[in-house]
């Protein structure tokens, strides 16, 4: 009895050691596009992916999107779950490939929400003029690009329109900043805001949405061009197949997602267009400020 137990232990050890030695782990970058605080849930998902890939999958977390993008560029990540805004940024040479797009409420789309404290009097973005505003990440579509775009179309920019802005680098914390009234308003990912309404209502329920953006492509999962094609293929089929089997559906339910789907990169053209428009508007604003500094400063 004891002998068999030892034998089994030895076998399992040799398998473990063999795997660790022969197979380098798959490095999977995560960003604030998902709620990262549920560590045990993410650990279980990592284990699920490892089993499906027959290789250990390791999540790599960084504070900002920029850091994750830098790691991708440096080839130190195989996969990553990033935001649509960094994805549409021009890259030369291209080092990313679209892997999968989450399907949320039946569509691969989400919105940016402009939120304010629930008991505040603010009804429109204009009410927030001269107030404090919280952004999520400087490279977030919903948490920065969209409000920046809104202001740019009004001929102004955040540092002029708001009295003070700050970055929380996390959609969930933007919600918290608005709920605590550290900020009078904030821009967040609709998916995260709704996710928090269910999981952390004590924070999210203290905020109110005053503006909903048009639909944008949901923050996508990408692969590095340096990742071997076989692994990319396998990861893609694993992700896309999650909705087909019970365990995968459990994880999708944990994310409040329907599935991971295969969509063309054109899904993110809307973000690209908005980024372009914003950049142009800001350039124009900068030149206008140079011409008439006093006029813009009055705004």
């Amino acid at each position: 009895m004891l002998r068999t137990a030892i034998a089994v232990l030895l076998v399992s050890l040799s398998i473990g050691v063999g795997r660790a030695e022969t197979q380098t782990p798959i490095r999977f970058g995560l960003t604030a596009v998902i709620v990262q605080e549920h560590l045990r849930f993410l650990d279980r998902w990592a284990l699920y992916l490892s089993n499906k890939m027959d290789r250990p999958v390791k999540f790599v977390r960084r504070k900002s999107y920029r850091e994750v993008m830098d790691l991708l560029e440096a080839g130190r990540l195989d996969f990553a779950w990033i935001c649509g805004f960094p994805f549409v940024q021009p890259r030369d040479p291209e080092f990313l490939e679209l892997l999968a797009v989450p399907v949320y409420k039946g569509k691969p789309l989400y919105n940016s929400y402009i939120i304010v404290p629930k008991d505040s009097p603010y009804r429109t973005l204009d009410d927030l003029k001269g107030k404090v505003f919280a952004f999520s990440d400087p490279e977030s579509n919903s948490g920065f690009l969209y409000p920046q775009f809104l202001l740019a179309t009004r001929g102004t920019k955040p540092q002029n329109f708001f009295r003070q802005t700050f970055f929380t680098y996390n959609h969930a914390e933007t919600v918290e900043a608005v709920a605590d009234q550290v900020a009078d308003g904030g821009a967040v990912d609709s998916y995260i805001w709704e996710y928090l309404q269910i999981l952390r209502p004590e924070i999210a329920a203290r905020t109110r949405v005053i503006k909903i953006s048009p639909a944008f492509g949901f923050p996508p999962l990408v692969s590095s061009k340096r990742t071997e094609a076989k692994a990319v293929e396998r990861m893609k089929s694993v992700l896309l197949g999650m909705s087909e089997e019970p365990e995968g559906r459990q994880f999708l339910a944990g994310f409040k997602l329907d599935a991971f789907g295969d969509f063309p990169p054109e899904l993110f053209d809307g973000i690209g267009q908005m980024a372009n428009d914003t950049r142009k508007a800001l350039l124009w604003l900068a030149s206008a400020e140079k011409r008439v500094p006093s006029e813009t400063s009055r705004k």
Binding site: P117, V132, A134, R163, Q164, F166, F167, T168, E173, A177, D180, Q181, V182, A183, D184
Partner: protein, 493 residues
């Protein structure tokens, strides 16, 4: 103060003892209690001061970097995290507020962001707040200040100026409530108070027991002394001797004294009885002697007259002798009956009756060179048994006149002293030798050849019958003074 109050209240010794013990125990207990409470408070306060600085330091470590990066969100987050109550810590202190201000006093982060918006100058709510803001913006090293009083509003504020490369970036302020400290101190104060009260109750019970035990024999002795004072010596019950201490010895010696007194009284009574018998015997013997002497002569005369019935000359010679002898017997018997006689004459009158005596005394002097001083200062409205008083004064004056030599002085003085009538008879005669003094008032005691020895005895009996007192002061060669004190019956208005 305390004891004068007790005296005023006329409290018994046992109550005083018990009160004194209670007061002492209460004083000690409450003093110690107060010291403990104050020390507790100081210790808790010092702990809390350390704690508030510790809390502030936990934020101050990362704050400068966040300020430099304009990362207001992480500044706020670190304040919020610090303010979160440590779960499971029963000694948790409540963070009332916390903030980071820039050197100009603008808010970089505040735990109440709604009331104190980001990047706007902090507006102090009241004078206290303004004082703290002033202190915070001028603080150059970690400081702890208090405010808000002692109760629910009390707080301690720790201020840490934030530097980066010796440049002042702002100040971190953390304010914790001292309410828990107050509650803790109040709890320990109540506990100490309760203990002290318990001690006081125990102490007073002990005091009652001790004082009872101490005072009980004293009360018994007092009762015994009261009985002794009233002369009821037979009523004195023995005081129980409970212990072998001062009180026990006091009880024992009191018992001995009471026994001795009782024995002495018994003895005195026996002596009095035997003295009465003795004086009765003396009177009988005196009467027998005084009556017998003339009787023998008288019987002899009668015998002789019987033998010679025809002898007229004999009859004429013996009849005066017979008469004189019978008169003498009659006098003696009358004197002996003086008390019966005065009983019959209980008439009261003023004191002018004394003036009647002056003539009698002058007749008694009968031309001898004796100076009589007469000072009758009595109010006639005072009522006395005049016949008795006259008799007393007359007897004394007669004696005085008889003993005073030629050229001597006899003084009569009468006056009123309160409710008493004082009668004084002085002479500057030879005085009474000490060996005679104890027999002075005995019947038939006389130093005069023809005296009956009943004069002073009568005085004594009369004074006694009027509930008065007679005192004698005499010095051989200087003179004698008799002083009679009589209660005045009445003063007629």
């Amino acid at each position: 103060m305390k004891f004068s109050l007790l005296r005023k209240w006329r409290l018994s010794l046992s109550v005083k003892f018990a009160l004194a013990i209670t007061l002492i125990v209460a004083g000690v207990a409450f003093t110690i209690g107060a010291v403990i409470v104050v020390q507790d408070w100081r210790r808790f306060h010092a702990e809390l001061e350390e704690k508030v600085l510790l809390l502030a330091r936990s934020v101050a470590v990362t704050a400068p970097e966040a300020i430099l990066r304009n990362d207001y969100w992480s500044l706020y987050r670190s304040l919020k995290k610090m303010a979160q109550p440590e779960t499971g810590d029963i000694r948790a202190t409540r963070v009332v507020t916390a903030m980071v201000l820039d050197p100009e006093g603008r808010v970089l982060a505040h735990l109440q962001p709604k009331q104190h918006p980001l990047r706007l100058p902090l507006i102090p709510g009241d004078e206290d707040e303004a004082r703290l803001l002033e202190a915070a913006t001028s603080a150059r090293s970690p400081t702890v200040l208090g405010g808000g009083g002692v109760g629910a509003e009390g707080y301690l504020e720790g201020m840490i100026p934030l530097y980066s490369d010796e440049k002042l970036l702002g100040v971190l302020r953390v304010r914790i409530s001292t309410y828990e400290l107050f509650l803790k101190a109040r709890y320990s104060a109540l506990l100490v108070l309760g203990l002290a009260a318990g001690l006081v109750i125990l102490g007073s019970l002990l005091g009652v027991v001790i004082s009872r035990r101490m005072v009980k024999p004293l009360t018994a002795i007092t009762r015994g002394l009261e009985a002794v004072r009233q002369g009821k010596l037979m009523d004195v019950s023995t005081v129980p001797v409970l212990r072998d201490d001062e009180l026990g010895r006091l009880a024992a010696s009191f018992n001995e004294m009471a026994t001795e007194l009782a024995e002495k009284k018994e003895l005195e009574e026996q002596i009095a009885v035997s003295e009465k018998l003795m004086s009765l015997g003396r009177i009988s013997a005196g009467v027998a002697h005084e009556v017998n002497n003339p009787l023998a002569g008288l019987l002899n005369c009668i015998d002789t007259i019987k033998k010679h019935p025809e002898d007229r000359e004999l009859m004429e010679r013996y009849l005066p002798v017979l008469e004189k002898g019978l008169n003498r017997i009659k006098n003696i018997v009358q004197s002996l009956l003086v008390e019966l006689r005065v009983e019959d004459a209980r008439e009261e009158s003023g004191l002018t009756c004394l003036e009647d005596l002056k003539g009698i005394v002058e007749a008694e002097i009968n031309g001898r060179a004796i100076h009589l001083v007469w000072e009758n200062n009595l109010d006639d409205r005072i009522r006395v048994h005049s016949r008795q008083v006259q008799q007393v004064v007359l007897n004394l004056l007669k004696n005085a006149v008889q003993v005073v030599p030629e050229g001597g002085t006899v003084t009569f003085r009468s006056f009123q002293d309160g409710n008493c009538v004082m009668l004084e008879v002085d002479d500057d005669g030879p005085g009474i030798p000490p060996e005679h003094r104890s027999q002075l008032f005995d019947p038939f005691f006389t130093t005069k050849p023809n005296g009956t020895g009943l004069g002073l005895w009568i005085v004594y009996r009369l004074v006694e019958s009027m509930r008065g007192v007679i005192e004698v002061e005499s010095e051989v060669g200087t003179g004698t003074q008799f002083l009679v004190t009589l209660p005045a019956t009445e003063v007629r208005a």
